[in-house]
Point group: C2
Chain length 235, copies 2
């Protein structure tokens, strides 16, 4: 059962490829991830990498999954550092951790949410989809906690469960019985609201016109929390 020496070496090499790829990405952005550069850094030939990843997009897909998972781990941990009954604090913690992570890993943000690479199109399933599902579920949980206060302002729209992905809908109905699809819509809108300013900032569209992006984001998140019927924390 213990993996053979060959398998261990193989796993180690695959790991090293990913590590170097992430290093190259951190230094030069997602486009700097080239199989040739990775091979060069490892003292190998470009062709050798094909023994581990069938194509460059396969490697990118794996990286997207890992980075996305790291992001979701981070925001979930920040959220769980607040008590479960502090709905506003948990939203704020999630949002704050998201920006902190994004500023610390700008290229990772681009990898996950941008055009990872020239012609890259994310595959349907895969690790990226799992991380995204976790993110959507996490956001919906935040909204579920706030829903008693938010329903007055956001319960009048009309959505059906069929407006959302099979998996997400099933998860929400199992995890939050009685929560209407309107709440999922609000969760996804919340996602967009967190994403907007961050994307503008990280792609350099904000810096020429605004020198205090952190304040903008903080106020936007406060407004979001207020819009959920909650009271924004003072810190």
């Amino acid at each position: 059962m213990t993996r053979s020496r060959r398998e261990r070496l193989r796993a180690e090499t695959a790991r090293e490829i990913k590590t170097i790829a992430l290093k190259l990405m951190a230094e030069g952005g997602p486009d700097a991830i080239s199989l040739r550069a990775i091979a060069r850094e490892m003292g190998m030939t470009a062709g050798a990498v094909y023994g581990y990843y069938a194509t460059r997009d396969d490697l990118i897909t794996t990286l997207v999954g890992e980075v996305y998972t790291d992001l979701v781990d981070t925001v979930e941990a920040a959220r769980d550092a607040r008590p479960a009954d502090d709905a506003a604090g948990r939203v704020q913690a999630w949002a704050g951790a998201l920006r902190t992570w994004a500023l610390a890993n700008p290229q990772g943000f681009r990898l996950v949410y941008g055009d990872p690479v020239p012609g890259y199109r994310p595959p349907e399933g895969g690790p990226g989809a799992a991380a995204r599902a976790r993110a959507c579920a996490g956001l919906t949980a935040l909204i579920a906690a706030a829903w008693p206060h938010a329903r007055a302002a956001h319960g009048h729209t009309s959505y059906q469960w069929s407006d959302f992905g099979e998996e997400l809908g099933a998860h929400v109905r199992a995890e939050h019985p009685g929560l209407p699809p309107e709440a999922v819509a609000l969760a996804l809108r919340t996602w967009g609201r967190m994403h907007g300013l961050l994307a503008l900032e990280l792609y350099g569209h904000l810096s020429p016109v605004a020198f205090a992006p952190g304040a903008l984001y903080r106020d936007e998140m406060r407004d979001l929390i207020r819009s959920l019927g909650l009271v924004p924390p003072v810190d």
Copy 2:
């Protein structure tokens, strides 16, 4: 004064290069813009293009400017189709035109707001900056019209003019005397709010989990308009 035949031909060729570049982009995304492909399409050599644009990034920069300008023209036109005293309608028109344009020109949206191309970094000045300035000014004008209703909810944050770009600040103070910097902050937050869901949708992050992105965007914009102290139009 009338431009010589040489100059006319030259301008025509430069125009053709841009047109073909936009066609390639519409077909295969911003990364499909390659000087060799353009030259091939024109029956020229790749090197010949260098007579018109010093580098590929120069061409990209020009395209970003043109596409961005087209976008701003579009949203401004939609806004101006509503009466000047219909603040809510003008916000809605702007937002609606933005999404319509983005769905009609998805690759243009990516060109302007994403990583236009592998190692591309937008230059400081240039046509893109001018279009962005127009967009920010337009958004601020929308907020200025709503400010009497919005100030109660959004006037308590603290910003200074130095928190914003020189040019933007000067423009706003000239155009909207008495408008505080908090309104500019609100305008930029509004920009982010419009951008977020759109970016998620156009980069394919929404489609696996939400099948009614238009409804999400509509409701988000309604909420935005309400948050500005205005009454969302019914249409």
